[in-house]
Amino acid sequence: MATQQTQVLGRALLTPAVALLFIWMIVPLAMTIYFSTLHYSLLDSETWSFVGLENFRYFLTDPAFLTALRNTLVLVGSVLAITILLGTPLALLLDQQVIGRSIVRLMVIAPFFVMPTVSALVWKNLLMHPVSGLFAWLATLVGATPIDWFNDAPLLAVILIVAWQWLPFATLILLTALQSQDEEQKEAAEMDGASALSTFIYLTLPHLARPITVVILIETIFLLTVFAEIFVTTGGGPGLQTTNIAFLIYSQALIQYDIGNASAGGLVAVVIANIVAFFLVRIVGRNLEA
């Protein structure tokens, strides 16, 4: 009896917090859904009208949409691959006893603390610029023609910048995991005459499965919304080569001032993110339960 009362009281006392959180979440979502059913352009704000699902049809049939979707997936996939494939050996290196290890670690982690806009500017003007950049200078030193990154390989250039930023994150997580690895097991393997490679494959890699899953999950969430790097370096172009979903929505809302269409685009992005998350959790999330 008393327990039940306490339970009811507890729930009642929780209500304000839950209600607040609910409103916090539901109001913006409801507003977005509402706007997505309107033909509502800021430049023509007097004449808005209800159009149903027209905006969704328009957004999904936009010739730019499929390109943007493909670019988003390529971007996320490539950055994930680069950060994990490079992050693992980096973490292994940093795990060794070397002189000045703490300084080396700090240097490796540093890019993560640079703001995306700043790192994009640095890469654009100081490193990848075809006339005055460091890479162009290096290329002319060996007599090669400098690569005009943002002209000839814009998506690759963006991928490199984003990967550079996220590599420290992957390295950091993997390094932490490595440090919790059982030293005795490794010693035992060594005494049994296992090579470094097979120690890595049979002991270290299984140990790293879980942190790699975490890296994939967290990075995916953030990489789906990459925007600043694209905005600063290529502006989504040339053509649509570096337009991802986030940038497409931005251009709908703030270059065309089409609120209805941008809201529809935002909802589509939410759905896409959920689909990606669903599959990710299905495929790699199993690791987390072990």
Binding site: N151, P238, Q256
Partner: protein, 437 residues
């Protein structure tokens, strides 16, 4: 203690109350171009004469300014009392009654002195809806020393054939000199401003009289393929990300033989402080293709008052001050005649002191005169505007077409594919906006 407290309170009330008696604070949104920054620096001269007005500046980069100002005025946010807007926005916003007509700029404002082309561009049915701060057209800037070395003479009214030929002759890639620098960065105010002006000289147009997009017509194909071929043969690397500022930097560091861009750039490239080639620059009219139209555009940055501003009188005072003949005199006195805002007033182009320090003045005036927003192309058009169509949808359409064209320039797409994509994207938008079925 009590005394101290009440004294403090008294002081606080005084501080709080004093300005509210007669003080009006104007919030002015402006673009971060050199001439506006200068105006900001001279604000004290205005507030000294008008002690009841204080001024708060919001200075932003062009695109950001446009977004902030547009969202503010469209949602009736009321953040700003004076807006800096382009000739593109003025007729559209005036028709929506988003702007207040500028009837009370004072007796000595001399509206008749404004250049007729610019005055037309900021007026709707004879009423001034914005006051021009500086105006511009486009022209050819070229390196006289390189021309001499190549044995070329720039005609007063060059044709595209001459420009293309000269650009190829001037190009010396091993020395880092490129025959011609043109805008390639996507955007309706970047590459499309140049390309639309260029297309006018080739007889192309954005829409026919029934608002049907015209990118499938041979005139556009000729425009775009000429542009892409020229830039491939004689343009700098990375041209698809070059806008006005990037090209200015290239020209000033001596990497361009020619540059076709805004007339306001003339005072920057001839300024020895910024330019390494200041004494070697010549000017000519924007090129033509023998069809009777030059690749001129017409633009002005203007000050306007949003409807709903509660400080109209003070805003009018400020606008009258900043766009008056006296302001020109003030800048001339403080910073020299070469730095006065150009392109808005006839009197400036009759002023011998200005003509003496500005070798480009006559051509600027001739270029502005050559542009006609009401009849931009050889063929009839349903829109107003030389390097844009003054309809609300143009910003979005112009930018997506600009993206396609920059892809053609970078080589990621072909001229034909870019034109086809531009045509279908424009048709789509125009259908959605209800112009065509």
């Amino acid at each position: 203690m009590k005394h101290v407290l009440s004294a403090l309170l008294g002081a606080a009330t005084l501080l709080g109350a004093a300005p509210s008696i007669a003080q009006t604070t104007l919030t002015i949104a402006t673009v971060n171009n050199g001439d506006m920054i200068r105006m900001q620096g001279l604000t004290n001269e205005f507030t000294a004469k008008n002690p009841e007005i204080s001024v708060k500046w919001v200075t932003l980069e062009e695109n950001v300014l446009r977004q902030r100002v547009t969202t503010d005025i469209a949602t009736k946010g009321g953040q700003f009392d004076v807006l800096t807007i382009g000739t593109y926005e003025v007729p559209i916003w005036a028709k929506k009654n988003w702007l207040i007509p500028l009837d009370n700029l004072g007796a000595d404002y001399d509206t008749a002195d404004l250049l007729p082309k610019i005055r037309d561009a900021v007026s709707v049915s004879g009423k001034l809806y914005a006051a021009p701060f500086y105006g511009e057209s486009s022209m050819v800037m070229y390196r006289t020393d390189l021309f001499q070395k190549a044995g070329l003479t720039m005609p007063e009214k060059p044709t595209w054939d001459f420009v293309i030929d000269a650009a190829k002759k001037l190009t010396d890639k091993s020395a880092g000199v490129y025959g011609i620098c043109l805008r390639g960065k996507a955007g309706w105010g970047e590459n499309m401003a140049f390309l639309t002006a260029m297309s006018n000289s080739f007889g192309a147009r954005w829409f026919d009289e029934k608002w049907q997009p015209q990118f499938d017509k041979p005139e556009w194909k000729k425009t775009l393929s000429t542009y892409v071929d020229l830039m491939k043969a004689a343009g700098p690397p990375g041209a698809s990300s070059n806008g006005f500022n990037e090209n200015l930097a290239l020209f000033n560091s001596g990497k361009c033989g020619m540059w076709i861009d805004a007339t306001v750039a003339a005072s920057f490239v001839t300024n020895p402080k910024d330019s390494t080639v200041a004494d070697k620059v010549g000017f000519a009219l924007a090129p033509n293709a023998g069809l009777g139209k030059n690749a001129n555009w017409l633009w002005a940055w203007n000050l306007a008052i949003p409807a709903g501003s509660k400080k109209t009188a003070a805003a009018e005072k400020f606008i009258a001050w900043a766009t008056s003949k006296d302001y020109t005199q003030l800048v001339a006195k403080k910073e020299g005649w070469a730095n006065v805002p150009p392109g808005t007033r006839t009197s400036l182009y009759q002023n011998p002191e200005y003509l003496k320090v500005a070798p480009f003045a006559k051509l600027t005036l001739a270029s502005i005169d050559a542009a006609d927003p009401n009849k931009p192309s050889v063929q009839p058009v349903p829109y107003v505007g030389v390097q844009y169509a003054a309809i609300p949808e143009f910003q979005g359409i112009g930018t997506s077409v600009g993206q396609q064209f920059s892809a053609a320039l970078s080589g990621a797409s072909t001229v034909d594919a870019a034109l086809a994509a531009a045509q279908s994207a424009t048709e789509r938008e125009m259908k959605r906006a209800g112009y065509i079925k």
